[in-house]
Structures are given as structure tokens and as C-alpha cells.
């Protein structure tokens, strides 16, 4: 099974989107969700996921709070803020613009 690296700059978008859909998730769930939704193509490295989450906390895109998992285990859950929702739109439109441009370049070639 081959897994591709996540293209640089899209990790925020993936996390934001995952949280927008999933509501409140902890780190492992975020990584798992991205992996599943990408049908095992994209794998989020923990080494980039957690620092990225921290940077998003700094920027105020997400909020974190401690809750308990289904197994009654303490876990830190992340939730989008309104600022994060705005950021998602920005990231998404930016991504679509870039992808569209790349696609056009490839198709003309």
C-alpha cells in the first residue's frame, strides 16, 4: 500500500476541513479521518500534525479542551472557531484556484 506525502501547505486545509465536518476530534481522530477520507492515500505524520495544531491554536483558528473518549480516556479535543471557519474558506478557495491553474497548465500541455 503506497501512501503519498501531503502536499506542502495543504495540511491546514485538511485539518480545518476535517474539523468542519467532524465537529470535535482529538489528534488521533484527525489523523485517522484524513487517512480514511483520502482512502488511505494521505497519511498525516504526527511530527507535523501536532505542531500544526499548536500553530493553529496560536492563530486562533481552533480551540482545544479536554474531554473523555468513548473508552473513558482523557483526550484533548479540537474544535473550529469562527476565525477558523473563515480561514477554511480562504484556504479552500486558494487551493481551488491553484489546483485549477495547475490543471489548466497540464491540460494545455
Amino acid at each position: 500500500m503506497h501512501r503519498d506525502e501531503i502536499p506542502p501547505g495543504t495540511l491546514y486545509l485538511l485539518i480545518l476541513k476535517t474539523l468542519a465536518r467532524g465537529g470535535e476530534l482529538h489528534g488521533y481522530e484527525i489523523a485517522k479521518t484524513i487517512q480514511q477520507n483520502s482512502e488511505d492515500v494521505l497519511q498525516v505524520e504526527e511530527g507535523s500534525l501536532y505542531p500544526a495544531l499548536q500553530r493553529m491554536l496560536v492563530k486562533g483558528w481552533v480551540k482545544a479542551y479536554w474531554g473523555t473518549t468513548a473508552e473513558n480516556r482523557r483526550a484533548r479535543y479540537y474544535r473550529l472557531t469562527s476565525l477558523g471557519r473563515k480561514q477554511l474558506q480562504i484556504e479552500q478557495s486558494q487551493f481551488e484556484r491553484v489546483i485549477g491553474a495547475i490543471t489548466r497548465v497540464i491540460e494545455t500541455a
Binding site: Y28, A31, Y50, Q54
Partner: protein, 888 residues
Amino acid sequence: MGRIGELWRRLAMLFRRGKFDRDMDEEIRLHLELREKERAANGFSAEDAHMNARKNFGNALALREASHDSWGWAWLEHLAQDLKFAFRMLRKSPGFTAVAVLTLALGIGANTAIFSIVDAIFLRPLPFAHADRIYLVDRTGNRLGGSSISEAIFVAWQREADGIFEHLGLFRSIGTVKLTGTGEAEMISAAGASPEFFPALGIQPEMGRNFNPQDGKPDAPHVAILSDSFWRNRFGSDPNVLGHSVTLEGLPFTIVGVLPPQFMWPVEASPPQVWLAVQVPVISNNPSNGGRLAIGRLKPGVSLAQAEAALTPALGELHHEFPQMFSPEEKAHLDLLHDFLTKGAGSAPLLLFGAVGLVLLIACANVANLMLARSAARQREMAVRAAIGASRARIVSQLLTESVILAVFGGGIGLFVCYAVFGAILSFVPTEIPHIGAYKIDGIVLLFSFLLSVLTGIIFGLAPAMTASKVDLNGSLKDARAQSTPSGAGRIRSVLASSEVAISLILLIGAALTIQSLARLMWAPAGFDASNVLTFRVALSGEKYGTAQKRSTFFKQAIERLAASPGIEAAGVTDTLPSLDTGSDMLFSLENEFNAQGSTEAHDADIRVISPDYLRVLHVPLVRGRLFNESDNATNTPVVLINQAMAKALWPGQDPIGHRIWIGKSMGPSGAEPAPRQIVGVVADMRQDSLADPSNPAMYIPYEQTKYTDSEYFVLRTARSPLLAVPQARDALRAIDPETPPTQVSSMQDVVYASVKDWRFHATLLGIFGALALVIAAIGVYGVISYSVVQRTHEIGIRMALGAQQSSILRLVIRQGLTLAGVGIVVGIGAALALARLIASLLYGVSATDPLTFAGVAALLLIVAVAACYIPARRAMRVDPMVALRYE
């Protein structure tokens, strides 16, 4: 909003870092557990699942750090770590820390003290609004070379001022005046100002009014404006002071205003306490050099060139009117007031600042040397740090933190040093140097001191840090002793020690030259005998002394009474004490020029008004003819004495006695004396203006034959120490007129001593800096040599085992020291020769490249270097070959 929110979150994280790290750990643990569970569910064995989860996860610690760093506080945390560690390291080696901190404290303290002086002289802005447009309006090319203008020029410029200046004011230096009517008579400083003077500086009286054009007219009532401090001290801040009067020189002046407290006038050495209205227009005897200063505030947008071009034609017109007083090439010249002040200070303070900077540089080199020696001992520590993943930058920043802490500590103690010696240093600063506000250790000085400390720490720490961080991991960790010097450190240390020698050579040569100058000045034949002479000043003013006749009577009585007092052998009077002030000079004509009209090329000589015994009191020998006596009074033939310089210049090879000269003749009827004078004697030369100035042609006239006698100095030849005669002198004067007390009482030796204040200032400070430099450099050489002896113990042991004599070991070590010093001396001499030009202006009677001084200082440094090597050399001689070899 977003930015503030972000900053807030960052700060919150910073203060709860412990909790943050625990949370991160727990989050990571959960992640690992969940992953392990997943692996186990996929059929891995429990152990494999654990291993696999960990392996894929990578370094949990690195992850935590990366998450931690996301918050942007890494620099602060590193700094905190570095600081904590640096403190621990410095506490662990108190000897090293103490030596380094003290060396730096001396260097930084001295620099802070000198900076506070340089700040007040050169850097502080003038406390005037629009100081960038306030100019001293002057001229160039005038015949007598003075730097002042007259009322006549001012009046001519005032007519042109409208388009150029917002205000053009006139300042007149008055000096001290006698204040009476408020208890004991007192001399206070006064100055004159025209109505536009204060507005030009943007100053308005705090209370009352400024001068108006009516003030200062000959028939107008006398008015005065008080300085704030005078108003506070003399009138107890009386709010109703306006309209009261002060009695100056026997005349009442009505107080019309009080200046604001922040007003200061840095041009005068002692701030004027009372301001009087100057009389404009008045055409004085000398329409060219009036000793006045014009201060103008340019209109915005008017350029310097425009202003100068507009004012120059007025000087041309004056040249036509007074052809002898003005030369045709005179041009108006504007100087920023601030520049004018700093020019007046000369280059000496900056030179001293440079010198004290060199002292700090030596201190830096020394501490760098100590750190290099220590870095050898700490090589293993560095290797361990590097081995567990510290980057080179991180090690350098750690070591730099240590050196900056050392320097900041040094700076802190240096501030105490500075406070402690500040008063002593200030007592050497000549009061004539114009400066803006008081010399003080203020915020700017503290900031300078702090920045200097940090910079110092980086300067002396960088080389050791770079060297130490270049670790050879393998070698250092393997070799248990690890005492080998990091590559290049030995060479750097030698270079540093040689530089210390070179820099101290420069400073010592500067010190030796200025000290010699001072000594030569003090020993120079001044032409008069200052020992056992008491001097004081008496100012005669008011109705009581309104005529020359009345003043003559006073002086005659005073001289008689003083000379008859116990302990006083003789008494004389002069208008200018030698070496106290620049006295006046006058133009005069020789007999064959008496009748020439207009363009007479007159002669110029110093002129002194004296009493018959004046020259006798000062032991100035008579060369030919006679001195003055009682019969040289107002009714007899006007006479004059001349000095040898004047005799030689005008009557070479002839006897000048019997010739006649006419003082002021070329200046027309208003400036000329009523009759010519006959030369009755020639006296030896004496240095008049200062000890450093050679004797100019000079003439002496008897006080009974001139009207310029309102302020005179007495000189008394005393039997014993001159100050013991002060009570008798006071009694004698009180008996004649209790309202005319002696002022500026001082021994003639003190007057002479005070006149060389500049030289003492330079010589003392450079002497201190030179001595400091010598001591620090000696420690530096000692450090390098003794360290190298320790390193070479093994080699020396082998040499001795092979039969080397103790004396050859001694030579070996001393030779190394002499090489260090020799290189430093050669480089230092080269640098000193290159810098000679800078110090030349501070020297008297000795050349800036005096070979004897250079040789002497070089020899001194060699001797000190040998002495510094002696202790390590003895240690080397006593090396026991067996011990040294076994050690290996």
C-alpha cells in the same frame, strides 16, 4: 484585534509552560496507545504493536519541542536556559569571574564617566526651540583675527536682518559685577543682551517682560532681568520681585523680568545671574572688534549661503568707513550655535574618549584571553553538548551569553566605580570648556553604559566562543584529560597579548607626552616669581570712585597701608594678572609716525597698567633705565616701560630709552591718548596670557597716568606663606573703605596652577588610562606565558631530562614573553606614529614623536613584560623532569 488576541494566547502559554508540556505529553501518549491498539487489532503481537507504533511515531521529545516552538517562545526559553547555565558556570569559578568582572568594571566605568562628559559637551541638544536654525553670526577675514563683532557691525547687520532672520540678537559678555545693598558685597556674573536676544533663542521671561528697544539707551532707566536661580537664591522666589531693584557696581537696576528655570546659556563658563540691556546702537572706540556675539534664528527656508551673501556687503561698507579697522576681504560667516560650542571645546575631550576606549579594548583582550584559557578546560563539556545534539550556533550563543553576563556585571560595578570617581574626574575638567547643562550620569549615560557592556561582552566573547565551539568530538571525548587547546586558540591568545602591549604603548606614550608637557610648562621660565605672592581683585565703582583721580587716591592709600602691614613686604597693582586672563593689547605709533594720517600701519603690543612696585613684587628684573616711581603721576611727563621683546622688535641693537611712542594715535582722536609717552626703562620678558604663550612685546604704563583703573589686581610679596597675610590685607582695605572688599583672593602660585588646568586634565586622565593599560597588559602577558608554561610542562621536563640548564629554561620562557611584547611594541610604535598628529595640539615643548619618550615607554613595557614572565619562568625552572614525564 486578531494580533492582540494572538499575543494574548502566546503570553498565556508562556506563563503556563509546565501545564502545556504535561498536556502535550498526555496527548502524545493517547495517540500512541490508540495506535498500538489499532496495530494489535490488525494482528500484530502486543510487543510488535508497541514497537511499531513508537517507530512510526518518531521522536516524541522532538515532537513536543516542535509543538512547543510553534508558540514562538523558543528564543526566550533558550535565553533563559543560557542565562541560568551561565550564572551557574560563573559561580563555579569565582576567581575567574572576579578578575574578569573587575577588569571590565574598570574599563566600562572609566568609559561611562568620560562619556558623560563627552555627552554634555558634544551630544546633548541645545535646550532651545528650533536649535537647528539658531546661528552664531560672525565673520571671516578680519584683520585682527578675533572671533567677535562690534555694535557697529551688529547695527549694520540689523538693517539687513528682515528677510533673513526671525530674530537677530546681540550678546555681550560682561563677566563679574559687584552686587551691593543686600548684606556683604558680592561678585556675581552678569551678561548683556539686546531685545532680540532671548526671542532668537525662543525664550520668554517666566515673569515680567523681555528687554525692549528703549532699555539700554543712555538716558533710559537701568533695568535687569534675573536668572531663575538668582531669583530663587537671592529673592527667595519672591513673586513680587518685579519693580524692586538690585545695586550693581553702585548703580540701581530695576528688575523687569525673571527667566524660566530651564534657560541656560552655555557660551559663558559661569552662567550669568543678571542680564542687563546692551546699548544699541553705540559706536565704541573700536568699531571692528567689540567682543560681542550676534545670535540669529534663520527664517525657515533661508539657506546659509543666502544669509552670508546678504550680510557680507555691510562689512564692505564698514571697510570704506574705517579702512584700518576692516579689511576688504571680510565676509559674513554663520555657524550653528551648537557647532560653535563644540568647536570651542576643542578635540581634547574626544581624544580622551578615544583613549578610554582603548583602555576598554585592552580589558576586552584580557578577558578574551582568560576565556580562551578556560575554554581549553571546558572542551569536554562542549564536546558532550555537541554529541547530544547542540548545534554550533547554540553553543556559541550559550558562550556569548556567559560573556555578556560577565560584561553586564562588569558594567554594573563599573557604574559604581564611575559614581565613586565622578567628582574627582570633574574636578579636573577645565571650567572653560563650554558644555550644555551639567555633567551628569543621566538616562542617556546609563543607556550608553548598558549598550557598551553588551557590546563589550560580544566583542571579547566572540573569538573564544567561536574557537571553543569548533570541537573535535572524537578527540575530546576520548582523551580523558582533554587539556589540549582548541585549534588556533594559542595563536589567538598570543595575538591578543601582543595587541594589549601595542595599545598600552600608545596610551603610555600619550600619557608620557602630556605629563612632560605639563612638567615643562610648570618649569618653564615664566619671567616672574610666583612664590610668596598673594593676589586679589578690587573693583572700584559708583560715584565714590567716579574719576581717575579718586581711584588713584584709593590705590595709593591701599598700597601704602598694605606695604606697611605686618607680614607684607611690598605691594603692587596691575590690571591683569599674568596667566589669569588674556589681557588687552593696544596699537601705538613711533615718533616718526605721529603725524601720518589715516592709513598708518600701527604697531601692536600688550599693555598693562601697573603701580611702581608691581614688577618688583614679582621679581621681574630691570634690564636698562629705571622702573616707575612716585613722581610718575598725572602731572608729570607720561612715561612707559617696555619689555625686551618689544625693544628687540622695534629698536634692534639700539637703546630705546628716551624714545617716544603714542598709544592709540592711529585710531583717531577718540582712541588716542592725549600725549605721547617717553620710554624710561626696559624690563625682562614675562609670560603674560598663559604659561604656554611666549612673551609678546609688552608695555607698562603707570596707573596714575591713565583713566582705565576701575578694576585692578593687587599683588603682595609676603614674608611667609601668602594666605597667612589675608587677614592683614582685609584689615588694611577695610580701614580705607569697608565697602570695597578684596575678591578672588588667591596665592599667585594657585593662579599659575589654575592656568595649566587643561594640561593637568589631559595629563592626569591619560596618566590614569596609561597606568590602567599597563597593569592590564601585564596581567595579559602573565596569563599567556604562565598558561603556556603549564602546557609545555612535559616538553620542559624532557629538555631538563636531556640536560638543559635551568638558565636555558628561564631564557626559553622569557624569550617567549619578549617576543609577545616585542611584536606589540613594534606595532604600537607604528600606530603611535600614525596617531601623533591627533595629540600634537595637547603638547607643549615636546614633539608628538619625541624619540626619547618612545624609547623610554618601549623600554618600560619590555621590563614589565620580563617581570610578568618571571613568575611563570621560575615555575618552569622548578619543573621536576620525573614528575613531568610520569604525568604523561
